[in-house]
Symmetry: C2
Amino acid sequence: MQANINKTNQKRVIIIGGGFGGLKLARELSSSNFQVVLIDKNNYHQFQPLFYQVATAGLEPSAISFPFRKVFQKASNVHVRVAEVSRIDAAANCIQTSIGEIEYDYLILAIGADTNFFGNQNMMKYAMPMKSVSEALSIRNTILENYEKALVASDEQEKQALMNIVIVGGGPTGVEVAGTLAEMKKTVLPKDYPELDFSLMQVHLLEGSGRVLASMSEIASEKAKQYLIDLGVDVSLNARVIDYDGNTVTLTDSPAIHTRTLVWAAGVIGNKIEGLSPEVISRGNRILVDKTNKINGYSNIFAIGDIALMKDETYPNGHPQVAQVAIQQGELLAKNLKALSAGKVMKEFKYKDLGSMATVGRNKAVVDLPKIKFQGFFAWMVWMFIHLMSIVGIKNRLLIFINWAWNYITYDQSLRLIIKPKTKQ
Amino acid sequence: MQANINKTNQKRVIIIGGGFGGLKLARELSSSNFQVVLIDKNNYHQFQPLFYQVATAGLEPSAISFPFRKVFQKASNVHVRVAEVSRIDAAANCIQTSIGEIEYDYLILAIGADTNFFGNQNMMKYAMPMKSVSEALSIRNTILENYEKALVASDEQEKQALMNIVIVGGGPTGVEVAGTLAEMKKTVLPKDYPELDFSLMQVHLLEGSGRVLASMSEIASEKAKQYLIDLGVDVSLNARVIDYDGNTVTLTDSPAIHTRTLVWAAGVIGNKIEGLSPEVISRGNRILVDKTNKINGYSNIFAIGDIALMKDETYPNGHPQVAQVAIQQGELLAKNLKALSAGKVMKEFKYKDLGSMATVGRNKAVVDLPKIKFQGFFAWMVWMFIHLMSIVGIKNRLLIFINWAWNYITYDQSLRLIIKPKTKQ
């Protein structure tokens, strides 16, 4: 079956994945001479850095999701398709998808990474990942449902398991979730559940390495840890999780923790796609690319963002899997595709590290910029400003701003709703 | 099993259902000497009059849903429980629920009504009801998914079935959904799907009686019908739907209509509860009550709102099943319960009809007040003002206002997202 996309005499660029990299590339090509086909499983772009606020009832999924069709309403050369891609047929220059076969002149894989459970079957079954708004929403629903259950639980241990929350992984996501939940323990939850004894509740953050925010500076790690401890989070470093059966987390060196809510933010692995030569797949499923993001051994297939593994002098093991790398690669690739199709030479990618940041809670954030590192209230303001400005859409920006201002004034995450679309059986 | 609710020496009032009636009653009793237990399937109150805006991507579910726990944060005598009630044991003064048995001194049924498919099994299977935010969200997701499918559909008839939308029932809900979708056909949908031919799309409104908005004045019905026709809705009066197989609607007197989206808003039936004497269950499952809302034959069980059937001189067949009746009954019952427990005489209910209204589209609404009827732009402003003021929560009010203003200026229902919480299999 052929997918139904009109033929033009423009060269066709297929972009698989509308995350930071894919979206940037498609936008840069939206006024070009290429026909662009953007394929994603969802009909919206997701703003990953704020997933944790959806999980903790601070923001609505729609505030951080933006429909692709709206982005490209005025770009007649961009065709959005909601589909799953099953296979690349590089010899025939086409891909197999759930909506049929689509031919390409250039193919760009911006398929990103998903949660890595490191093969632990029980984790896969019981732990909650947070790599999509849907998963974040699911965490919100689970936490709220568990608190309703805690109200009617008869024995203390069960009650505690329902109230405790364990977060595995001390990267930005883990730190942000842990900090927010610890704040909720002090503010909104006791007000909502006056019948529960909140001295039973504990937020645990388990990190395998020797520090939280290991990708940031020592001072950022140290400060973030202190903020978490001040908020009442039980931070365990060098913690090794052995197993989780849905009720109890077992660890190598510490006593077991009873919890029904385990958020898994301990690592990512590249999403798989069939049809590429096995030699180009490297550590963590990342795809080996040259300095123009072209996949080794292919002439017209590229990979950008989290899925791509580009080694250079500064980053011999590849770039960090963060939004900025994906955005910068998308931006350069748009220029390079234009150059390539005009028979010109492509430019090599050089990552410009703009710095990194994480927020722990109210007035508490850590910021590492190339020339300066700072923490506290001002860092928190910077964090908010940068994230607000990065959000797609003026209305989303406005709604998020109002939500944040509201939550700040009222100490109240107001979206404590267990809502699921009703499905027909 | 006994549900875990602390015993006090206050008399216990159990309210089943937190719709307009149940919520009003619980609020009025929140500073009283009763212990109030409010039981609902959901942890939030739903604002039914705006479900249609959720279904048509204009508002987020959270904007019209409000967590009960937030409403009663400061009311220490009100206990919220998320549970399903299976049975009343009137002899023992207790109810059986999914969280155990709960005893009562007074029991109030505010369980409302659900969609009535009039026994049509195929309708139950394929038609989409809209009596909860979850169901409304499900309609939004289905419409958007069908448009994605239309893009890749190969033959014209399938394409048309995916684009057509049929609404059965010309009450306020049906009229509002039809009007909004007809507007979207002209504004946002062609922009989102430039590859589709919108002359294929038709919005059908099928009404069984001789006029739309049959519960309103003749002039309101007439104007509403004209507005719908002006917007391009295909309005069929005296239409009899025979069957629907998920693809084709068959009618007695008109040609079949191909559609994958059939919204069923053609009638309601009272929600069932086990344990009451069969004699008190009347037409449409409504429960017969006296003029104090006490169920006939019981001394301490009451019913209010859509589920109650109270006959009086003005309303020999019972009151209309609308929010105002439920709210007024909830308000009076709070006073009557206080009177009853103090050994005083209860007051009889007298419905004060404040009028009714419906909106068809941009600048188009119809309003029937007791002394005056009007239509058009001013009616539309009144409709918006009344609905905005009726919404629970200042933040919700603010967010809805921004959404409405935004949509009005940009002609853009911006929540065109297919989001579902991810569930573990």
